[in-house]
Subunit: 220 residues, 2 copies
DNA sequence: TGATTTATTTACCATTTGGTACAAAATTAT
DNA sequence: ATAATTTTGTACCAAATGGTAAATAAATCA
C-alpha cells in the first residue's frame, strides 16, 4: 500500500520535472483573473490606442483588474506591451509567418496581403496593424518601443526578402529580381493598407489595391 | 497745413480699410516673438512627435517662449496644431497641390510620389508625413484630431480621384480605369512610403518602391 | 507725465500619467 | 487552529499633462 503511494508521488514529481508543468497548487491567494484573457483584453486596448494612447488606467479597466495586479503579473507598461505584442504575433497575425510556407513567392505575397486585408478590415478588430501603428510617432518617453516596432517591421521585410531569395533558387522568381527591393515594395503596400484601414477602407477596397499592386509582378 | 495733415490721416484710414492691413503700430507691449517663426518651430515638434507626443512644455521650449504666450496667440493645443497643419500644407507639402497641374495623370502621380520621396527622406525633416502619422493612434482625448487627419487623407485621395476623372476626359487615362481605385492605390503607396521613411528608408529605396508601383500604370 | 493697452513672466491649478506601499483577504502547509 | 504565502484592494506618490490667474513690463495715446 505505502509502496503504491510512494510510487505515485515519485511519478508526479518526475512528471513535473520532465514537463516542467507545475501541477501542485500554488501556495498563496489564487489569481483572480485569467492571464491569457487579460492579455487578450490588453491587446484590444493597445491595438486600438497604440502604446502611448493606452493608459494604465484604461488597461486596468479593460482587464477588470486593479493596476497593482497588472504590475505584479506583467512588470510594467513596456513589459505588458511586449507580451501583448507576442500574443498579437502568435494570434491575429500568425498568418504572416505561415504565408512564408506557400510554394511560390507570388503565392506567399498573395496570402500575406490577402490575409492582411481580411484582418485589417475585420470590424471585430481595431483598425490598422499594431506593428505598423503602435508607436509611429510618440513622446520622448516611448522611443524605446518606437524603435522596437521599427525593428519588427524591418524583420518581416527581411523575412520576405529571404523568402524571395529562396524563390529565386527554386526558379519561381526570375533571377534578376532584387529580393530586398521587392520585399520593401510589399512591406510598403502592407503598411499603406494599414493606414487605409484606419481611415475606414473596406475589405473590397483593400483587395482592389492589392490587385493593382500585384499586377506588375515580375514574370520574365 | 492742417488740411494736409487731415488728408494724410484720411488716406491712412482708407488705406487701412481697403487693404485691411494695419500699418498703425499696435497699442500695448510688442510681441516678443515672430509668429511665423514660432509656427515653423512648432511644426518641427508636431511633425516629429505627432499631436499627442508633442507636449505643450516641449512646444514652448522649442518656440523659446512661455506657455501663456502660446495660449494667448494661438488659443489651445488643438488650435495650434491646426495652424501648424496649414503651415505644413502651404510649405513642405505644397508640391502635392501643385502636382495636380501636371499635364497628364501619370505625370501628376510621378511628381506627387517623387516629391514625397524627397520630402520624406530629407534628413533635415522629421521622418514621415504629418498628415499620415500625426495621430494614427491616440488616447481618448485626441480622437477629434485623429478624425481630422483621416479627413485630410480622404481629401487628397479625392483630389487625386478627380484629377484622374479629368484625365479620362482628356484622353491621357483609359476610360475603363476606375479613378477612385487608382487614387486609393496611389494614396496607399504614399502612406506606405511614410511608414518606410520613419523606419529610416533612403531616398533611393523610396524611389525604387515608387518605380515598382508605377510599372503597372494602366495604358490600354 | 500719466493713463491705457497689450504681452510677458511667474507661479499656480486640477487632472492624469506610470508606478507603488501597505494592509486585508484568500489560499496551502503544518 | 495557526503560520506561511501570495494576491487583491485601497490609497497614495512624484512627475507630467493641458491650461490659467495675476502681477509685471513695455509699448502707445492723451
Amino acid at each position: 500500500m505505502s509502496n503504491i503511494i510512494d510510487t505515485e508521488k515519485l511519478d508526479e514529481k518526475s512528471t513535473k520535472a520532465l514537463t516542467n508543468k507545475v501541477i501542485v497548487k500554488p501556495r498563496g491567494r489564487p489569481l483572480a483573473f485569467n492571464q491569457e484573457d487579460a492579455l487578450e483584453s490588453a491587446l484590444q486596448v493597445f491595438w486600438s490606442r497604440g502604446y502611448e494612447g493606452a493608459s494604465m488606467a484604461e488597461l486596468a479597466d479593460a482587464l477588470g483588474v486593479n493596476k497593482p495586479s497588472i504590475y505584479a503579473t506583467f512588470g510594467n507598461k513596456e513589459a505588458l506591451f511586449r507580451k501583448v505584442l507576442a500574443q498579437y504575433l502568435a494570434g491575429p497575425v500568425a498568418y504572416a509567418a505561415e504565408a512564408m510556407n506557400e510554394p511560390t513567392a507570388y503565392k506567399v505575397v498573395e496570402k500575406f496581403l490577402t490575409c492582411s486585408a481580411a484582418l485589417l478590415s475585420n470590424p471585430d478588430n481595431p483598425r490598422g496593424c499594431m506593428i505598423v501603428q503602435g508607436a509611429l510617432t510618440c513622446g520622448q518617453g516611448s522611443t524605446m518601443i518606437q524603435q522596437e516596432l521599427i525593428g519588427y517591421r524591418k524583420n518581416y521585410e527581411n523575412v520576405l526578402s529571404q523568402r524571395f531569395e529562396l524563390a529565386k533558387t527554386q526558379g519561381d522568381l526570375p533571377a534578376h529580381v532584387n529580393a530586398k527591393s521587392l520585399a520593401k515594395y510589399i512591406a510598403t503596400i502592407h503598411q499603406g493598407l494599414s493606414v487605409q484601414a484606419t481611415g475606414g477602407a473596406s475589405k473590397d477596397e483593400l483587395m482592389t489595391v492589392i490587385d493593382m499592386a500585384l499586377k506588375n509582378w515580375p514574370t520574365t
